[in-house]
C-alpha cells in the first residue's frame, strides 16, 4: 500500500493523532486535516514519545504515526511504551524502508531489522504487522494493539508544506486533548 492510503485509514479513526515530521505530516494534512492532528514539524524521532505523553496526560485514544527511520532514532521508546502501556495508545510505524523525506536513503529495515520483533523483544504484548489497507483497518478496529507495523511503498505524494505554525497547532490540539481534571483522581501513570 501507499503511505497516503495508510494515512487515509488512520485519518478515519476517531482519535488524537501525533504525526511524524516531513512528508507524512504534509500528506496527512492534505488527506484530512483536523484539530485532532498534531504535526511535529521538527524533533525527528519523537512522534512516539509525544504521543505517549498525550496518552498519559488524558483519556482519549491516541495514534502516534511514525516512520521506520524515526523509530530507529529513538528505539528506547519501545521499552518505555511496553512499561507504561496505556491501553488507549497505539504506535503505528509506517515502514517504507527508507528515509523518504531526505532522498530515500535506505534504513536498517531494508537490511533485515524487524521492528515488530524489536517491539516484541521490548515487552510490547500486542504487535500487529500489516501489508494492506484492509488489514490496517482491521488492526485499528481491534482493542488496543500497542504497535502496528505497516509496510508501505517508498514514495511521497506531491504536497506542499503544512501551512500552520507551532503555537497555532498547539492551541487547537490542546483544545481537543486537554482533559478536565476529575476531582479526587490523578490520571496518568502510577496513579
Amino acid at each position: 500500500m501507499k503511505r497516503a492510503e495508510a494515512l487515509r485509514a488512520l485519518a478515519d479513526v476517531p482519535a488524537l493523532r501525533v504525526c511524524n515530521l516531513g512528508y507524512p505530516s504534509k500528506e496527512l494534512y492534505q488527506i484530512g486535516d483536523s484539530p485532532d492532528n498534531f504535526y511535529m514539524l521538527g524533533s525527528m524521532g519523537l512522534a512516539s514519545s509525544i504521543g505517549l505523553g498525550v496518552a498519559l496526560g488524558q483519556g482519549r485514544r491516541v495514534l502516534a504515526i511514525d516512520g521506520d527511520g524515526s523509530v530507529l532514532m529513538n528505539l528506547g521508546t519501545l521499552a518505555t511504551i511496553a512499561r507504561y502501556a496505556p491501553p488507549h495508545f497505539c504506535l503505528v510505524i509506517l515502514d517504507n524502508g527508507v528515509h523518504g523525506s531526505t532522498g530515500n536513503q535506505p534504513t536498517a529495515t531494508s537490511f533485515g531489522t524487524d521492528l515488530a520483533q524489536v517491539a516484541l523483544g521490548c515487552g510490547i504484548r500486542r504487535v500487529r504487522r500489516v501489508r494492506t489497507v484492509a488489514a490496517l483497518r482491521r488492526a485499528l478496529a481491534e482493542r488496543g494493539p500497542s504497535v502496528i507495523v505497516a509496510k508501505v511503498a517508498p514514495g511521497n505524494a506531491l504536497v506542499p508544506n503544512v501551512p500552520l505554525r507551532g503555537p497555532m497547532l498547539r492551541d487547537r490540539f490542546r483544545s481537543r486533548a486537554a482533559a478536565p481534571p476529575v476531582p479526587g483522581s490523578r490520571p496518568g501513570p502510577r496513579s
Binding site: V18, F38, M40, L41, G42, S43, M44, G45, L46, S48, S49, I50, G51, L52, G53, V54, A55, L56, G57, Q58, N74, G76, T77, A79, T80, R83, Y84, G166, P167, L169, R170, F173, R174, A177, A178, A179, R186, P187, G188, P189, R190, S191
Partner: protein, 170 residues
C-alpha cells in the same frame, strides 16, 4: 523508581514542594543521584512520573503531557542536556510548551570523575545557546527561585532550567 540509599535532602524536598505548589503535575526522569530525592518527593505526593531511557525521549513525553494542559518537569543530569538540544529547540521552544528541567550539575569543583568536567563547563553556555533561562538552587532557602522558574515556564510557554550542584544543599 530505583532504590535510594538515603532520604531526600531538605533542598530536594523544598524543590519538590515548590514545583508542585507552582503547578507542576507531571514528571519524567533519567536517573541522576543529585536530583533523585526531588523525584522521590514528587512521586510520594502523587505526581505521575515516567522513567525514560534517554533525555530526548523525556522532552518528547513532556511535550505530549503539556499538550494535554499539564505542566511537566524533566529531571536529568547535565551530561544528558547534550542529548536533547534539538528537541528543546524544535519542539518545546518552537511550539511554545512549558517545561521545567531540574538538572543535576556535575563537573564542578570537587568532581571526582574527569569525564564530567567538559559538560560541567559547557552546561550554562549550552542553556544560553538554546535560550533556556536557568536558576541555581544552592539550598532549601532558594526554593522561591523554583517557584519563579515554573511561573515563567507557564506564563511564557517555554523551557526553563533549575541547576543543582551536588556539593551544595546536603
Amino acid at each position: 523508581m530505583y532504590e535510594r540509599r538515603k532520604a531526600p535532602s531538605p533542598r530536594e524536598i523544598a524543590i519538590a514542594r515548590a514545583l508542585q505548589d507552582a503547578g507542576v503535575d507531571f514528571a519524567a526522569d533519567v536517573p541522576c543521584a543529585v536530583v533523585a530525592g526531588v523525584l522521590e518527593s514528587l512521586v510520594r505526593s502523587g505526581v505521575p512520573s515516567v522513567d525514560v531511557t534517554r533525555e530526548e525521549e523525556g522532552v518528547g513525553i513532556c511535550a505530549g503531557a503539556a499538550l494535554t494542559g499539564r505542566t511537566p518537569v524533566l529531571l536529568l543530569q547535565n551530561s544528558g542536556l547534550g542529548n536533547c538540544g534539538n528537541a528543546l529547540a524544535s519542539l518545546t521552544e518552537y511550539f511554545g510548551l512549558p517545561l521545567v528541567l531540574v538538572v543535576g550539575w556535575r563537573g564542578g569543583p570537587g568532581e571526582s570523575v574527569g569525564a564530567q568536567r567538559p559538560m560541567g563547563r559547557a552546561t550554562t553556555g549550552l542553556l544560553r545557546a538554546l535560550h533556556v533561562p536557568f536558576v541555581r538552587v544552592r539550598g532549601a532557602a532558594d526554593a522561591s527561585r523554583v517557584t519563579a522558574a515554573v511561573g515563567r515556564a507557564r506564563r511564557e510557554h517555554r523551557p526553563v532550567a533549575v541547576l543543582l550542584r551536588p556539593e551544595e544543599g546536603r
